[in-house]
Amino acid sequence: MPDLLLELFSEEIPARMQAKAADDLRRMVTDKLVAEGLVYEGAKAFATPRRLALTVHGVPTRQSDLKEERRGPRVGGPDAAIQGFLKATGLAKIEDAKIQTDPKKGDFYIALIEKPGRATIDVLAEILPVIIRTFPWPKSMRWGARSTKSGSLSWVRPLHSIIATFGLETEEPDVVKFSVDGIEAGQTTFGHRFMAPSAIPVRRFEDYEAKLKAAKVVLDPQARKEIILADAKQLAFAQGFELVEDQGLLDEVAGLVEWPVALMGSFDEEYLTIPDEVIRATIRNNQKCFVVRDPKTGKLVNKFILTANIEATDGGKVIVAGNERVIRARLSDAKFFYETDLKTKLEDRLKKFDQIVFHEKLGTQAERIKRIERLAAEIAPLVGADVEKAKRAAHLAKADLLTEVVGEFPELQGLMGKYYAQAQGEDDSVAAASEDHYKPQGPADRVPTDPVSVAVALADKIDTLVGFWAIDEKPTGSKDPYALRRAALGVIRLITENNLRLHLYELSIFHSLFFAEKTLSTFEGKIAKRGEPLDFVVPGLADALAQRARQITRSEKVFETAFEHYQELTRDLLSFFADRLKVQLRDQGARHDLVDAVFSLGGQDDLLLIVRRVEALGKFLDTDDGKNLLAGTKRASNILSIEEKRDKRTFDGAPDAGLYALAEEKALAKAINQVKSEAGAAVQKEDFAAAMSAMAKLRPAVDAFFDKVKVNADEPDVRENRLKLLNEIRAATRAVADFSKIEG
């Protein structure tokens, strides 16, 4: 079967857009072919800086003929219906339609529509220009004299020529005849811009790819990447060094060349005094070159590898020399920045943060740093960190944002802070926190373990979350501009992977009051009473809050209103944590319904305990005892909810032992009491495995009860008592989880 070759030859396509464009082209053309009933055997798309190319092979020469019967109105139906039918089917007059008899509904018209299949090449001539005109470039432009006309072609950069051929391997293929904005499809391409610029006639994909290669164009981006990587590795290896591999850079560089030529250059050794990361950022971001290290030390050496787009007639001498000049100037700037930065102590930079707004509604960076300091000091003893070190670390952690190097390379934030902190003789833990308090940045990132870093990392993230919650900037759907999901996941990972015991609700509500100054006016006139008395686990927190209240406002009542509001917000924030935890546990293979079962017990803000409870519950439910107890509990719940509905009442309260008629009832009551106290004690000791084992003892009694006892007894008082007993099963299991939330 014949093949299609399509090439769209243009001025330089941005590297970052090429891969998706190739994919879009393949998808759009093949989707359209399939929609036209043309099933193909295979398709592959390619991109270089100057062209998108597509080959679709094994496409049928023609569409198959279509025969369709379409049912019309009944014979003698209204004229409008008949006219509509004629129009829809293309029949000239109603006499051309067949009449079909239906014994029930009477006679009606049937149109026989025969649609002969068209030649594929004609279909292509119709669909290709539409695809080109509607191509989804992220940004496209108009150009040249035709740009005055409305509806002129828009492309990523000026489009110069189109190849579209269709035909069998054994024959001269035909050109698919169409034109887009004055560009006629043909069979001519062009080679490398400098090494082989002249026109090349092509027939089909095989000779197209081969001729391009002869004309110094490697069509396949994957092949270009392999060439660059292999050559770069070889160049480094030949000098006894090792290439620092960089997939992102490789992808980009492969999109900047049609004929990759790797060349090695060097820079003055004096620049090796700059931190490796700064050298790499300089050379990578600005010059799109790879760096090279010494495999023995792991440190960078004074070499770099560039990828030229040409086999220069002088072997690349001028190109290397030119790149060396630019890199020298760039490194000279970087060295100057680095050395300038070292002259100013980190704390001396902080004053400037007074002028820098973090967020319009959340105040300046300086205010934010103060909040993080206070919270880090609060968290420090809970995570085993020295309070003074945590405060110092939080004080300095953001200072590098104002350094020259970070201004130039924002991705080095934190890391530079660590270097500068070390240089000014800060404690190792304090210095490390500059870098590590940003971590973990995502599910794969390292979680810090040093308690000082942990305290500052938690404080930073909780401040962000509480702050954006306070101003109602929560993530919605796919929108999460402040990366709050990532921050919440960071908190979860910091806590669970370091086995920390923290009461997130309390910390959050404590912290939320530091935002109260900004939002206090909201509560004027909205005076309400405080709800339940505060019962805090964290020692001294209630005092701290009272003190805070006096700082913020003289009016205890305004404070109370604010406090209520922040309680509300914090509960909402906590359920956000619960959702993130669910996602996190689900990703690790745990069942999300178990998280719900634990959370719905209420009052759960200790993530570590939640995780442990979920783990123990999961294991328990994998056992026969667990499964049967779950089934029994569910059965009890189902019966209860039916009877509760029928009687319009609940069956709370202790059952009356005097009403037990059967041995199974007594046994169950006994088991429930025993399990309640055993499981309760185990939960107190946070031994969830033991709590589950205790639960298991409930199972034989529950099974026997359902086996032998008729719940809806004829005597009303016995029935009520039995329902109360069922309610006790439900209550007993709530010591470990809300079984009704568990699926299955």
């Binding site: 150009w143 950069r157 400098f194 020298r328 100037a329």
Partner: protein, 335 residues
């Protein structure tokens, strides 16, 4: 005017490969060669673009941050009429002054600007030929077009194009204007901007801008870029960072803004029917002025981050109003 004794030897049409310089270099006296002298370098570019049919303009007689601000680009990019021009424009970036101590940064430097409307289909080839004309041989250099989308918030303008790299160095900006002064470009112009000092440094092989040979002579006759501009860099850096009268500048900004609006309002022929405008150019001068005054204030650090946005917006409003007026003038309107 410098007479060009070689005009007859200039080939009328060029065929690829473009490695051959447009002017036979041997025919030029040594001191005029683009790789020897800064002025020879500029002249080579001017000759090249003159050969492509561009009018060679002289710099606009006002202070501006980039060659794009020249009315020959900003205003002439609008409207349907053909327009091909090239010129050198001194560009002032008060913030970039370094008291003459930085080898690359200047508060005053030269841009070479080319605008062709509509953008010709072979604009990339023309650009590469122009590089050949200043001694950059595409057979030994690695020339690349790297994505760079251009946007000027003050001019209400944007376009797509590239930074042009030569051996890893950005040497030009290449832009297809899509919108200027808030008006859709129809047709689209192609704009090229060469950073002259940087390119000349590369061609001459010097690392410090002040070491550029300006006149191509040797020994006692040699004049360097430093001889011409070092003192100016020092003086203007003092001026820009330390001594500009900010109260006066705030006042000047307001005055230029008011004047621009006043001239625009007065320029509509037959009162307010908005059909024909008679004073777009003088009004636009005031927009250029406001923009430069803003740059001076910015260099003095007296404009806060939030104010900055609002000043940029005020200049953009002027630019847009001027663009709107321009498309109702003789040169800017549809035929």
């Amino acid at each position: 005017m410098i007479p060009c004794p070689y005009a007859d030897t200039v080939p009328r049409t060029l065929k690829p490969p473009f490695a051959r310089p447009i002017l036979p270099m041997d025919a030029l006296p040594a001191h005029m060669r683009p790789e020897r002298s800064f002025q020879g370098f500029i002249l080579a570019l001017q000759r090249f673009w003159a050969e492509q049919g561009c009018v060679i303009l002289q710099p606009y007689d006002m202070e501006m941050g980039a060659g794009t601000f020249h009315p020959a680009t900003t205003l002439r990019a609008l409207g349907p009429k053909r327009w091909n021009a090239a010129y050198v424009q001194p560009s002032r970036r008060p913030k970039d002054g370094r008291y003459g101590e930085n080898p690359n940064r200047l508060q005053h430097y030269y841009q070479f600007q080319v605008i062709m409307k509509p953008s010709p289909p072979n604009l990339q080839d023309l650009y590469l030929k122009s590089l050949a004309a200043i001694g950059i041989d595409s057979g030994v250099h690695d020339i690349r077009f790297v994505e760079d989308d251009w946007e000027s918030p003050t001019l209400g303008a944007w376009g797509l194009g590239w930074e042009c790299w030569c051996d890893g160095m950005e040497v030009s900006q290449f832009t297809y204007f899509q919108q200027v002064a808030g008006v859709e470009c129809a047709p689209v112009s192609g704009e090229l901007t060469y950073g002259l000092e940087r390119l000349a440094m590369y061609v001459q092989g010097v690392d410090r801008v002040y070491d550029l040979n300006f006149n191509g002579r040797d020994g006692a006759d040699k004049v360097t870029y430093g001889d011409v501009f070092l003192q100016a860099e020092q003086e203007y850096s003092r001026h820009n960072f330390e001594h500009t009268d900010t109260a006066m500048l705030f006042e000047q900004f307001k005055m230029a803004e008011d004047a621009c609006k006043k001239y625009l309002a007065a320029g509509w022929k037959e009162g307010g029917n908005q059909k024909e405008h008679l004073m777009a150019l003088p009004a636009y001068d005031q927009c250029i002025k406001a923009s430069h005054v803003f740059n001076l204030l910015d260099a003095r650090g007296v404009i806060s981050v939030t104010e900055r946005q609002s000043y940029i917006m005020r200049v953009r409003e002027l630019a847009k109003a001027c663009g709107e007026a321009w498309v109702h003038t003789e040169a800017g309107r549809a035929v």
